[in-house]
């Protein structure tokens, strides 16, 4: 019961206005500001908090991607993770990397590192898939506590309060388990300057998916990427009756 694995993804920064490539094959990423996925930040914060409560001995930050993924791992180290693992995926492989391949990699690492807990962000803000956590748990045949707004370790079990459509659901799952972090789980800390200095000395191991016996061939092919249709002007109405009439007219109700 000593190790937590945290997944961190390098995504286009949330404040950047994303543009579609002229050939519609994807979005422009060259020269665009990237940062850690906000839900991954929340996951890192939770893992570090659990370690500070002395419930775990080590937090390992993992990222899959090209060389720049190490920047994201370093940020996780500066927030308090102990070491990092960079699973190198580049070029076309990286462009087609999705939740299924990443969850295979995390499953392999969770076994290799003998992790008791895998914490991931609930989804990434670039693809909004919301699949990696669930797939990782399934591949490992581990219980999962997704959309966590509260995580409490009770012996060898994890109590997770989940944010669901109807409200909040509390479940208790056995460890080892996978948890995915939702928005209200915590407020991520700022990397302090001394921790940034300490992060310099922390180790980041480098490996390839093949080293873990994982095949990252994609089963999906992106046909086309388009911008959402430009929002059209609305219509103002004077009364509620007018509104109902207009909605009936357009066939909405």
């Amino acid at each position: 019961m000593s190790r937590v694995l945290v997944g961190v993804k390098r995504v286009i920064d949330y404040a950047v206005k994303v543009r579609v490539k002229p050939d519609h094959s994807g979005v422009v990423t060259d020269g665009v500001k990237h940062s850690m996925n906000p839900f991954c930040e929340i996951a890192v914060e939770e893992a570090v908090k659990l370690k500070e409560k002395k419930l775990f001995k080590e937090v390992v930050a993992v990222s899959c991607g090209p060389a720049q993924a190490t920047e994201t791992i370093r940020t996780a180290l500066a927030m308090g993770c102990d070491r990092g693992i960079h699973v190198e995926v580049t070029g076309k492989d990286y462009e087609s990397l999705g939740p299924l391949q990443v969850s295979k990699i995390f499953a392999a690492l969770a076994k290799k590192e003998e992790a008791s807990l895998v914490i991931l962000g609930k989804q990434a803000i670039d693809d909004d898939c919301n699949q990696t956590g669930q797939m990782t748990a399934a591949l490992l045949d581990w219980p999962q506590g997704t959309f966590a707004s509260e995580v409490e370790i009770e012996g060898d079990k994890v109590k997770v309060v989940r944010e669901i459509d109807g409200g909040l659901e509390t479940i208790k799952i056995n460890m080892p388990a996978v948890v995915t972090a939702d928005l209200r789980l915590n407020t991520p800390r700022y990397a302090t300057l001394p921790n940034i200095m300490k992060a310099k000395k922390k180790k980041i191991a480098n490996m390839k998916p093949a080293d873990l016996g994982v095949d990252i061939v994609s089963r999906l092919e992106v046909l086309r990427v388009d911008e959402p249709p430009t929002r059209l002007a609305g219509v103002k109405v004077e009364t509620v009756d007018d509104l109902v009439a207009k909605l009936k007219e357009s066939g909405t109700i």
Partner: protein, 405 residues
């Protein structure tokens, strides 16, 4: 053989010169991370409240506390004393990003780091460092620096505040003016003369806790800008402190003050850069959104020329500031470069904030937009820690020394 070693030395110098050149173009990873964390903090925690802090003249105590726990209040202080253990370039980057969010908070950070902690770190005994620096690294306590007097600002050597020895105590008498952080500080570095006949060579530096019997504060000045900081006179009336509270050796005060201000200049240059950048960002954003004559005003050449001039002013001042910081970190002389940086950055701040209001037009004149606050905050950077005129004297002095026949 000698020629071989000479050539190798020259190559080494060339290579290390190249390293510092490329460092100006692309900061090392640690510095980039540090800059990002300060920028995130400034964007999320300072920018949203900066207007309120300014309007209500509120000292950002909670934010200073948070910045302290991030290590920003003591960037250069070694870890053993409670600081972040980073270099001066990191400090300059931190102050710029913080000032971009809130000019006043940037000033508090700069004064604590450069003017209060700076001289104690350089000239203090180990005991003084532990007593007077460590409690001031966490953001719980801030310090201040008292050199100017009602009778002399630029003419620092004419200090009339006196210190006489009485048994095992120093007794200080006099008035210091324009002291930033005074109403919020827990300690002050005071410059007083132990022997007026020695003129500036009779000035010594003293550490005085605040509050303290014999030390009182004048009224808070009602300033044009950086209104979240407190500025007031410090009045010393038979203020008694132990002999161990002298900082450095007797008569070294003027030298301590001048060297402290040399470094402090890089901090103020960084504060000015932050304000200038904020003004530029405000104008560039407005240029996209505001339409006139059927198109965004950013399409008009008049506006484009202003934005270009602002960008050049900021970027050139920034590179001067980084160079001064890197020279200091390399333990090379940096007096001229620091003065150039402060001069360039402060004039860039006033220029950019002036032009920013112009780009915003009427909106630049009202408090709904931050442009008018940048304009007011920028103005002080040309005055404190050495007026622009003094900077010119320093630069010319160094230049002429270098070119002496």
């Amino acid at each position: 053989m000698a020629a071989f070693y000479k050539a190798r030395k020259a190559l080494a110098r060339f290579v290390s010169g190249c390293k510092s050149f490329s460092s100006l173009a692309e900061l090392p990873e640690m510095h980039q991370m540090m800059r990002q964390t300060c920028r995130d903090y400034a964007d999320r925690e300072l920018a949203p409240i900066a207007g309120k802090l300014d309007k209500e003249h509120l000292f950002p105590a909670q934010q200073v506390h948070e910045l302290g726990s991030m290590g920003v209040m003591a960037v250069e202080v070694p870890e053993e004393l409670g600081g972040a253990g980073m270099d001066y370039l990191a400090y300059a980057l931190a102050v710029e990003e913080i000032s971009r969010g809130c000019g006043s908070t940037g000033c508090v950070v700069s004064v604590n780091n450069s003017l209060y902690i700076g001289p104690i770190l350089k000239f203090g005994t180990q005991e003084q460092k532990e007593q007077w620096i460590t409690p001031f690294t966490t953001g719980e306590k801030v310090g201040c620096f008292a050199l100017s007097e009602p009778g002399n600002g630029s003419d620092a050597g004419a200090a009339s505040t006196s210190a006489r020895q009485e048994g095992d105590e120093w007794v200080l008498n006099g008035t210091k003016a324009w002291i930033t952080n005074s109403w919020d500080a827990s300690a002050v570095v005071v410059f007083a003369s132990t022997d007026k006949s020695l003129k500036h060579k009779g000035i010594s530096a003293f550490l005085v806790p605040m509050p303290h019997p014999g030390l009182s504060l004048g009224k808070k000045e009602d300033k044009l800008g950086i209104r979240a900081t407190s500025t007031a006179n410090i009045i010393l009336d038979d203020c008694r402190i132990p002999l161990g509270n002298m900082l450095g050796s007797p008569g070294a005060g003027f030298k301590i003050a001048m060297q402290t201000l040399d470094s402090g200049r890089i901090g103020i240059a960084s504060q000015a850069l932050g304000i200038a950048q904020a003004a530029l960002d405000c104008a560039a954003d407005y240029a996209h959104k505001r339409t006139a004559f059927g198109a965004p005003i950013g399409k008009l050449q008049a506006v484009q020329f202003k934005l270009a001039d602002m960008a050049v002013a900021v970027e050139s001042a920034r590179l001067l500031t980084w160079k001064a910081a890197m020279l200091k970190d390399a333990k090379k002389p940096f007096t001229k470069e620091a003065a150039m940086a402060k001069l360039a950055a402060s004039e860039a701040a006033t220029f950019c904030s002036h032009q920013s209001i112009q780009v915003l037009g009427g909106m630049g004149y009202v408090t709904d937009m931050p442009a008018e606050r940048h304009y007011r905050d920028a103005r002080i950077t040309e005055i404190y820690e050495g007026t622009s005129e003094i900077q010119r004297l320093v630069i010319a002095g160094q230049l002429l020394k270098e070119n002496a026949p």
